[in-house]
Point group: C2
Chain length 572, copies 2
């Protein structure tokens, strides 16, 4: 086993043993691709999630929404997922085993997940790829398999087909009318949602990288495509991002995001700006900046909606892994839902700088015919004729009145007229820039980058150097012994800290102090407090810093204040 | 329409118009029982959820976990949900329409959801209940319908049956071994989980009360049934709870929780204690304490696991609604999973106060037969014979060795021996007390209790008196006009507040100031800041308090500090 693999095994086993991340349903045999966040991982995950929400809420024009995970089929037909959210699967003619075709093709193509069905079949055939189950080499033609979990809403004949959402994004599109109202009809604005996404992988692997149920965090930012965005890139002027553009256009390069935008390497300034803010976020939660790169999607690999898309990839135990996708989706989604539903509320209003006079052909009712034909509805028929947007292609045609009633209009009832009207603006479909984050993959890499293996007194020793802002436990409370009242003092401090908002402490009363420090370091607790004999005399306790083991004495009240205000570091 | 119904309609329409709670997927026709939390509701929901997590984390022995929503069938067979999580459904013979039998029986029995199939059929028949769809009155016999959403994990022949979880509780039971390790093998301790739960209602109704996908928050508290719990009820000594005990034993009463526990009206002190802490939580997030009562489940109504169960019911627009269930589950769940899986890790160790000498019957291998029969496995066979817990009921029997191999033991290979051993303790199944909260129902009642309809200048005026700790928006920023630089000053303050952790402000620049105050009051924004001409001269702004309209002038920095520290009230 390589050193790298051995380290990964030790790390995974620590995460499991200490209750950070564990295979789910293990006592019932487990399920590939499903994980639990345990007593330590639960709060770690929530703090990362909350950091993400805070990061975007700070922009002032981004709000949080929350929509159901169960999604009726009609929504996902409109969004394209029913047709397009597929992986190719190859089935062995000998044993019936089914596998992802691109996994079978690995090693025979640099990037097999961009290949077409024909290309995949050819690689399997030309390289005599063996079936992992039975060793056979006779494959059925690859076929697309939809990756959504399906279910049914309701009972019996009244039931409706539905899926567990493959992304959280659709919730934001559904709520566009409410968002537009909330922001008083002014673009740009954004909405975020965090929560579960689902993908019924054919054969999950790679631990936290490829899950069947995962934590997503997506932002949809709605813009007017005719307004030139004004983003200030000066903050990142001296920061070189690693870019891997589509090789058809550019070579890999190190460049600051403002220049990459100015030189049109990143095609839309708002995409560049979200790449920069994504970089900020990743670094703030503990990702090593050296291990981040942005890779532009090539034409064939781009999702069905994206007109430009960059992945933030993070390097760790599994190589370079896509953790964030930042896509310019154009008006794909809103247009798709508008066309599927005929709903007119997915547009925004763009006032003209000056009113425009427009020549228009309209149908005017002939009073002498309309009157007798429709009697007391005649006025409503005239109103409806005037508000026709598109001229009918022939006669007779059905005209819907404001009341919802429908009437038949014959050719002799109307005449065409040319008129001039004044228009003050127009309704248009906003464009969308979407940064989509895989929280589990980011969490995995934070842990991977924080995990340090070292030695102490000749023994292996590990520390998880998590940033204090997301550590699962803020402080460990360690009575030197559980006697002479030390346990009671420790327990009192422990409860004092737990009662303070947004703080979690952990009481550990058994084993040697060195062993308990080691246990706290292993899961990344930034601070540890020891209650000893001196504490019983003058009340002071020892606080120890995880990252260098330095210790000072302090009064417990002072300690709690410093923890609440986040100023513990300044005590040293 | 009654006044009560008209108020409910106005409230529901406000929630929808202002983006608090909206029917989900509305542009695609909507789905009964699925709701969105919109631009205002999203943060409101999260703050309530976080308040709940903080409330329990403050106890110091309760940690957060997070487990998948997709649950393999085996887990839910063991938990009893596959067999028992049903509603009775009646089908009309004339039109095929399907309805919940207890809904059809309403008005003909005080509590139809406790009835058996026979009783329901009889009520439908004796009262000639008409089909709501076709008016027919000929019903098929009621039959139980499972309420879980089902799906499949994986593809093709390798796929496994699964359900969307009906509760979050199973995740905590699955993680018992990790929790026990985390708490260094010491009871009592608890774990919480918040997240989605699913229930495929036959015919959802009553808005937020009966959802198909809902926000749950559950706590499993593991205790040793042989340790007498010591809870301090003095804090609630002078608070009278409204209790509706099982009528078989007690009359409704007002009583403090300590006395209710001492008098055995609440059967277990830990149940009484969680009822008291539940009361604390509900009142802290804005539930009117007059509108809370606790109702004990009657025998027939109790869930399949509960040995004592109390519902916290809240009164609002829909009458008394169950919002929290506090159940003593005994060791039902851990025992069920142990028996389904044979996993021995769901137990806790109880040391005896003194070691006990125990007489035991064991099987000892006869060396002269075991040796030749099993050769180099003979030692392993002897070890396995000695560690048998239960004597076999007959011969021959299969014996599993530590290696996993299995051997057949004949009667002549062994002899029974009486021996004495010293035991230092025993492994036992912990008991569980579970408070389970319906976050959506609680949120609904917070809104319902906060919603005040009044008048201003002869016009209807509404205020949502939400507690500042969970209000969706902390402060509204209102430039008097968007000119002379007032808009810029306002925008600067807005961004300053949004950048502070855990604060959200809302910028509203258009319409009269009175109208904008009204908009802020309607969704419960506790504070509003106005930037006027004086602000341009001396920097000061006006801050207005929602609940009485009182205003003072203040410098923006002072305001932000007061918001961050939560001390705005003290400014007045």
């Amino acid at each position: 086993m390589s050193d790298k693999h051995a380290r990964l095994e030790r790390l995974t086993s620590m995460l499991r043993r200490r209750g950070v991340i564990l295979p789910a349903f293990e006592i019932h045999g487990g399920v590939a691709g499903l994980f639990d966040f345990g007593p330590v991982g639960g709060r770690l995950r929530r703090r990362l999630n909350n950091s993400w929400l805070e990061h975007w809420a700070s922009h002032g024009d981004i709000v949080e929404i929350d929509s159901p995970t169960i999604t009726p089929e009609a929504v996902l037909i409109a969004s394209g997922h029913v047709g397009e959210f597929n992986d190719f699967m190859s089935e062995c003619n000998a044993c019936g085993g089914a596998f992802r075709s691109d996994h079978l093709a690995e090693g025979h193509h640099p990037n097999p997940d961009v290949l077409s069905q024909e290309e995949l079949d050819q690689i399997l055939h030309n390289n005599s790829i063996a079936c992992p189950t039975c060793g056979g080499g006779d494959w059925k033609a690859a076929r697309p398999m939809n990756l959504m979990f399906d279910t049914r809403i309701g009972a019996m004949k009244g039931g409706r087909a539905a899926y567990m959402r493959p992304e959280t994004a659709q919730g934001m599109f559904m709520l566009f009318p409410a968002l537009y109202r909330h922001f008083r009809n002014r673009l740009p604005f954004g909405a975020v949602q965090t929560g579960k996404g689902y993908r019924n992988e054919i054969s999950p692997r790679q631990g936290m990288i490829r899950l069947r149920e995962f934590n997503m965090a997506e932002l949809e930012y709605f813009i007017d495509p005719e307004v030139e965005p004004a983003h200030d890139f000066s903050k990142w002027e001296s920061i070189q991002f690693n870019l891997i553009p589509d090789p058809e256009f550019n070579q890999p390069m190190s460049i600051d995001p403002g220049s990459a935008s100015a030189e049109n390497i990143i095609r839309h300034p708002t995409v560049a700006w979200f790449m920069a803010r994504t970089w900020d976020f990743l670094v703030s939660v503990g990702i090593n900046p050296e291990m981040i790169r942005f890779r532009q999607h090539e034409g064939t690999e781009m999702a069905h909606y994206a007109s430009d898309c960059w992945d933030a990839e993070i390097h760790g135990s599994y190589g370079w892994i896509e953790c964030v996708g930042i896509a310019h989706r154009g008006c794909y989604d809103l247009a798709a839902h508008e066309s599927a539903t005929g709903d007119g509320n997915l547009r925004a209003w763009r006032p003209y700088s000056e009113p425009r006079t427009v020549d228009k052909t309209v149908l005017a009712g002939k009073g002498s015919i309309i009157g007798p034909a429709f009697r007391d509805q005649a006025g409503a028929v005239n109103d409806a004729l005037q508000s026709i947007d598109e001229m009918p292609t022939g006669f007779p045609f059905e005209l819907t009145l404001e009341s919802g009633d429908s009437v038949t209009i014959e050719a002799d009832m109307v005449e065409e007229k040319r008129i001039q009207t004044t228009e003050h603006g127009e309704w248009f479909l906003p464009h969308v820039v979407e940064p989509a984050f895989g929280i589990d993959r980011i969490l995995w890499h934070i842990i991977d980058h924080s995990y340090v293996e070292t030695e102490k007194g000749g023994e292996p020793y590990t520390v998880l150097r998590l940033p204090a802002s997301i550590a699962a436990i803020d402080i460990a409370i360690l009575p030197l012994m559980e006697k002479d009242g030390m346990g009671e003092v420790a327990s009192h401090i422990h409860h004092q800290i737990c009662a303070a908002p947004n703080l979690a402490s952990y009481y550990d009363g058994s084993g040697s102090i060195g062993r308990r420090y080691a246990r706290a370091d292993e899961i990344g607790v930034p601070w540890a407090v020891t209650i000893d004999h001196e504490s019983l005399q003058n009340g002071s306790v020892t606080i120890r810093r995880r990252d260098d083991g330095e210790q000072i004495r302090i009064q417990p009240d002072e300690l709690v204040d410093a923890l609440v205000s986040g100023a513990v570091t300044s005590l040293f």
